[in-house]
């Protein structure tokens, strides 16, 4: 495996960037498809997707910094130097959910509906995107999966199953919290695997 996805003159495209762009693009298309299924304005959903993407990154970074304050206390400006090695998935998810709540009021779309639209691209991104750890061992070393790289496969399957369950149960179940319960269980299993 090459250290970088693409290198030419002064251009370096890391594996994280390459896989991230592919996964984000597909997720964007998926959210558009789901907007139609839930009879929502596709443009609005795509706008929300972009906002969630940005807020998710900021949230992931802020959470990481808060969890590792001792590393930044002597050099506050380095907080702004974002790298994919220094992000927190949980922080990104929590900030994303909080933003979704606010956006549901602003765009006057039921939170439950928005949640169901965006949780599917999230599962998809994680199921595919987690494989970047196999391309970038430094990134793998910064996660809890470092002791056994084979766990990347289990995590990927976990998010695939999460996506399958979301499709299978969210509309059929009478429980309005079912999508949220599935996400909590998947995230819990992600951290204990």
């Amino acid at each position: 495996m090459k250290p970088f996805f693409f290198t030419f003159k002064s251009i370096n495209i890391t594996w994280f960037m390459a896989i991230g762009i592919i996964v984000t693009s597909i997720s964007y298309i998926i959210s558009g498809i789901l907007a139609k299924e839930y009879k929502e304005d596709k443009n609005k959903i795509e706008d929300i997707f972009m906002i969630l993407l940005i807020v998710g990154f900021i949230g992931a970074r802020l959470s990481y910094v808060l969890m590792n304050l001792q590393s930044y206390k002597d050099n506050i400006s380095s907080i702004l130097k974002i790298s994919h090695y220094n992000l927190s998935l949980l922080g990104g998810v929590v900030f994303g959910l909080l933003t979704l709540m606010l956006l549901s009021k602003r765009y006057k779309i039921e939170f439950k509906k928005l949640f169901r639209i965006f949780v599917v691209p999230f599962y998809f991104s994680m199921a595919v995107g987690i494989w970047v750890l196999m391309f970038d061992h430094l990134l793998l070393a910064s996660t809890h999966l470092k002791e056994d790289p084979k766990k990347v496969l289990y995590i990927s399957l976990l998010f695939l199953i999460g996506m399958g369950m979301e499709f299978a149960l969210s509309k059929k179940s009478n429980n309005k919290y079912i999508s949220f319960i599935i996400l909590v269980v998947v995230m819990f299993l992600y951290y204990i695997v």
Binding site: P3, T7, S78, M134
Partner: protein, 205 residues
């Protein structure tokens, strides 16, 4: 009804696409990747051929060894500022941060004090700063001015930078205690970033 079928087909397509991508990535990284590693790594886990042929002075246009994550980092031997030969393999048993830099590079200059701090504060880590294609006198002056005392070697022809796919300065690589190349980071890193990566490498051992 037709609309519903179309939506269901789209959902099915999403699931199939996800399964195909995950299956493909699994095959590419774990099945095929595993086979390649077994074929390339000799029984004693030390590639003598690679070690001798990747010596800084020995690289020719006909033989350019591959640099691969998860495999042994290509060895090189370069002269330091005292004129002594230094090889990457000299640091087996320590985590090595190979930093490709140049005196004219602004971000290398910003990064240097952090490299010094990292080298000083971690006994199990060595910073190996590879200056690329500059005169020894210029590098000596720069290092003396900064008061840096980590290992600096000179890649006068740029062969090692080429081997390690360096396209911008600074670029850093991390090699574990067994000489396995863990990954590269293009661009400047802060001390916090460096130490988090080193911590991760340490925990993974």
């Amino acid at each position: 009804m037709k609309g519903r079928d179309r939506v269901n087909k789209k959902i099915l397509s999403i699931i199939i696409l996800a399964v195909v991508l995950v299956g493909g990535l699994y095959y590419f990284t774990m099945v095929k990747g595993g086979e390649t590693t077994e074929e390339l790594v000799p029984e004693n886990n030390v590639s003598e051929e690679t070690n001798s042929e990747t010596n800084g002075e020995d690289i020719t246009e006909d033989f350019v060894p591959d640099i691969s994550i998860g495999e042994e980092a290509p060895n090189f031997t370069l002269k330091n500022l005292d004129g002594e030969e230094v090889s990457l393999t000299d640091y087996r048993g320590k985590i090595v941060l190979i930093n490709f830099w140049a005196t004219w590079c602004k971000y290398c200059d910003i990064e240097m004090p952090d490299l010094q701090k990292l080298d000083k504060e971690n006994e199990d880590l060595v910073v190996l700063a590879v200056d690329v294609m500059e005169k020894k006198s210029l590098v000596e002056e720069y290092i003396a001015e900064g008061g840096y005392d980590f290992q600096v070697v000179l890649d006068e022809d740029g062969d090692i930078a080429k081997l390690y796919l360096v396209s911008a300065f600074p670029t850093s690589y991390f090699v574990d205690k067994d000489g396995i190349l863990l990954g590269g980071v293009p661009g400047m890193m802060t001390y916090a970033q460096m130490s988090q990566i080193v911590e991760g490498i340490r925990d993974g051992e």
